[in-house]
């Protein structure tokens, strides 16, 4: 059964260029504009208005019990869609039919008042989310237990740590019992333990046959939770279908990679009169069915350069930098004697070694193991996407590397 049917929904915003600096227009502007128009003036300094379509002709249906992940860049229209579905803003055109009680969680702890105590805020937030007083009462103990704030129930929430605040907010919304749940990025906050709780709760919700729409940049969470996915780009629904398929497609568009450079002749290649590069290239050994690099993928770095020197002792040195600039490692080849001509080198970076993130490679040609002949600073760049199996935690995995090391655990004794 279809619980959400969206037909050609669009949302248009008007952007005033002239007033771009101001947060809100003033009465005087409006009046003076009207005045100018009335007297036929204002043709030259007409406010330049630009239409911006946050959503354009979006069509989809959601079946009962579907868990839909919504992915896309910032500004692709995901949040606008959620706002329309939760009736916060109306579409400029089109129609949505929704069957069932909707609860939307666009923020954790909406309407929390800093001066009010935890207890008062539970009732306030619950009412804002559409719970009845008796429903909140019934869930009250379970909420404070889930949030772990028993001791601070009668403390104003302005004295809460940010973690407590978020936990309380999520705990309340976790006790909503809607038929359709709309969630925007709530997992982005909270510690690992708490995120695990949240995902567990969301799984419970979906297993009870309720429908979930879930916007997140956390693709690992989307893949684990959702059976379907929507991929938005520039306000349009670019792709929908099976989660893995859509996420793969999205990732292959997202990755800001620079995987290959090739220069046909030595004159074109970067370098000097001693060495010139011909090729730098990354060859990923993709996982089956994937077309992006994830933490399991091993990659080969191919380098080819022209050596213009007669009989020189050369070696290559390669630095791998994290996007933030830290050097992860530096490896060198052995130094060898080369004749004038092409030299080829290959480095294999194994899978299950780098953590997810963006990386940049720089390459140096070194003579006599001491003199740098030429350096190609940002020769290549690539992104490693996250992938997890057998874990229910989706927070950012810490560290620059994520090696799989032999880490044994055994029961050494059983207490009777």
């Amino acid at each position: 059964m279809q619980v959400i049917v969206a037909e050609d929904i669009s949302k248009k915003y008007i952007i005033d260029h002239q007033k771009a600096m101001r947060k809100s227009s003033t009465l005087r502007d409006t009046f003076s504009e009207k005045f100018k128009h009335f007297f036929g003036k204002g043709e030259q300094d007409e406010i330049e208005k630009e239409e911006f379509w946050a959503l354009r002709d979006v069509n989809f249906t959601v079946e009962q019990g579907d868990r839909v992940g919504i992915v896309g860049h910032n500004g692709a229209g995901k949040s606008t869609l959620l706002k329309i579905l939760s009736k916060i803003t109306e579409p400029s055109a089109g129609k949505v039919t929704i069957k069932g009680r909707v609860a939307s969680l666009l923020e954790v702890g909406t309407g929390f008042h800093p001066e009010l105590t935890g207890r008062e805020n539970i009732y306030l937030n619950g009412a804002i989310l559409g719970m009845k007083k008796h429903e909140i009462k019934a869930a009250f103990d379970s909420i404070i237990d889930f949030a772990g704030v028993e001791k601070f129930l009668d403390t104003p929430v302005k004295r809460y740590s940010s973690g407590m605040y978020v936990r309380l907010g999520f705990a309340i919304s976790a006790h909503l019992s809607p038929e359709i749940l709309i969630i925007d990025e709530v997992l982005a906050v909270g510690d690992a333990d708490f995120q695990k709780k949240c995902l567990g709760k969301m799984r419970d919700v979906s297993e009870s046959g309720r429908t979930i729409l879930f916007v997140s940049h956390n693709l690992a969470a989307v893949q684990s939770l959702c059976n379907r996915a929507f991929y938005f780009e520039h306000g349009q629904l670019k792709m929908q279908g099976d989660t893995t398929h859509v996420v793969n497609n999205y990732l292959s568009h997202v990755a800001k990679t620079n995987l290959e450079h090739y220069w046909e002749t030595p004159e074109q290649g970067p370098g000097n009169d001693q060495v010139r590069f011909r090729t730098v290239r990354i060859d990923p050994d993709f996982q089956e069915g994937k077309n992006y690099i994830d933490v399991r993928t091993s990659v080969k770095v191919h380098i080819e350069f022209w050596n213009m020197l007669e009989r020189a002792d050369l070696n290559l040195s390669l630095h791998l930098y994290a996007f933030t600039g830290e050097c992860i490692f530096n490896v060198g080849t052995t130094s060898q004697s080369f004749e004038k001509g092409l030299v080829t080198a290959t480095l294999e970076i194994p899978g299950n070694f780098l953590n997810d993130g963006s990386y940049v490679i720089s390459i140096m040609v070194v003579k006599d193991t001491s003199t740098v002949l030429f350096q190609l600073p940002e020769a290549l760049s690539f992104e490693v996407e996250d992938h997890r199996e057998g874990v229910t935690w989706y927070g950012k995995w810490p560290g620059y590397v994520r090696p799989q090391l032999n880490f044994q655990i055994n029961q050494s004794e059983v207490l009777v």
Partner: protein, 280 residues
């Protein structure tokens, strides 16, 4: 699974079950009012005493200025301070409620951008808050009336009518300002100014009899276009008894003006409320 409701979201169509929704959300209405009331005096030393202290201090100053310095005469047989306090009580009900309604959407902008509920809940909760503040200052009036040994007459039973009219007037003007305030922050500057003017234009610190004495002057009819004038006169009449000036004929036109404004403002509010989030 049986579905509790079906919702159709379409451009330019307000929610179909708006008034039903409003009723369903009455708990939210109450809890928002409770929030505003309980938050107000948090971290203050004398707390709710402010609700009494402010009208009391205003009365003392007004009595001093108008009675001792300007030597205005009140209605016969009515203690002047009591007349001023009655006027201030009803005026504050209107002015506080009006001001709060005008800001109700903006101060709740975090709710407007993140959740849906009939937006009329916010101004309506301001009405409740205004009413409860009023009850406190009415208590102050009762204490002072006992001090002056000036008990009310039978007219006291009509008091709720004028309280209701005053709240409706606050709602009808407030809704328009609340909507405009979302787009034009000028309104925030304008409101205290309007309230200040109103305080002097309305018969609060002086008796309506002084106005009536000028009934052949050009501004007389214009003066009574202000619906608050006869509401205030009527309220004073209810509390102070027959001695207080009240011309019931002016009340009919006031009621007509309020009904018309209320109709327009609710229509305007309903038309604009779905776009609040785009402009706030």
């Amino acid at each position: 699974m049986k579905y509790s409701e079906e919702v159709v979201i379409e451009a330019g169509h307000g929610a179909k079950n708006y008034w039903k929704d409003l009723w369903k959300n009455r708990e939210l209405l109450w809890i928002l009012s409770k929030r505003d009331l309980s938050v107000r005096y948090k971290q203050t030393a004398i707390g709710a005493a402010w609700a009494v202290l402010r009208p009391f201090a205003t009365t003392v100053v007004m009595v001093f200025v108008f009675s001792k310095i300007a030597r205005l005469k009140g209605d016969v047989g009515i203690p002047y301070p009591l007349m001023v306090l009655a006027g201030i009580t009803i005026w504050n009900l209107f002015a506080n409620t009006f001001t709060q309604i005008s800001h109700s959407i903006l101060i709740n902008s975090n709710l407007v951008t993140k959740t849906y509920f009939p937006r009329l809940i916010m101004p309506l909760s301001s009405v409740i808050v205004g009413f409860i503040d009023f009850l406190i200052s009415l208590f102050l009036y009762a204490v002072i009336a006992i001090w002056y040994q000036h008990p009310p007459n039978w007219q006291i039973i009509l008091l709720p009518v004028f309280v209701l009219l005053s709240l409706l007037a606050a709602l009808s003007f407030g809704l328009i300002f609340a909507v405009m305030n979302v787009r034009f922050r000028d309104i925030g500057q304008l409101i205290p100014f309007l309230v200040q003017i109103g305080f002097y234009v309305c018969p609060i610190a002086y008796s309506g009899k002084l106005v009536e004495a000028n009934h052949d002057v050009w501004w007389y009819d214009i003066y009574y276009l202000n619906p608050l004038v006869s509401i205030i006169d009527g309220f004073k009449w209810c509390l102070l008894g027959d001695g207080a000036f009240f011309n019931i004929e002016h009340l009919y036109s006031a009621m007509g003006i309020i009904a018309l404004t209320l109709g327009i403002s609710i229509y305007y509010f309903r038309k604009e409320e779905n776009s609040f989030v785009d402009y706030i």
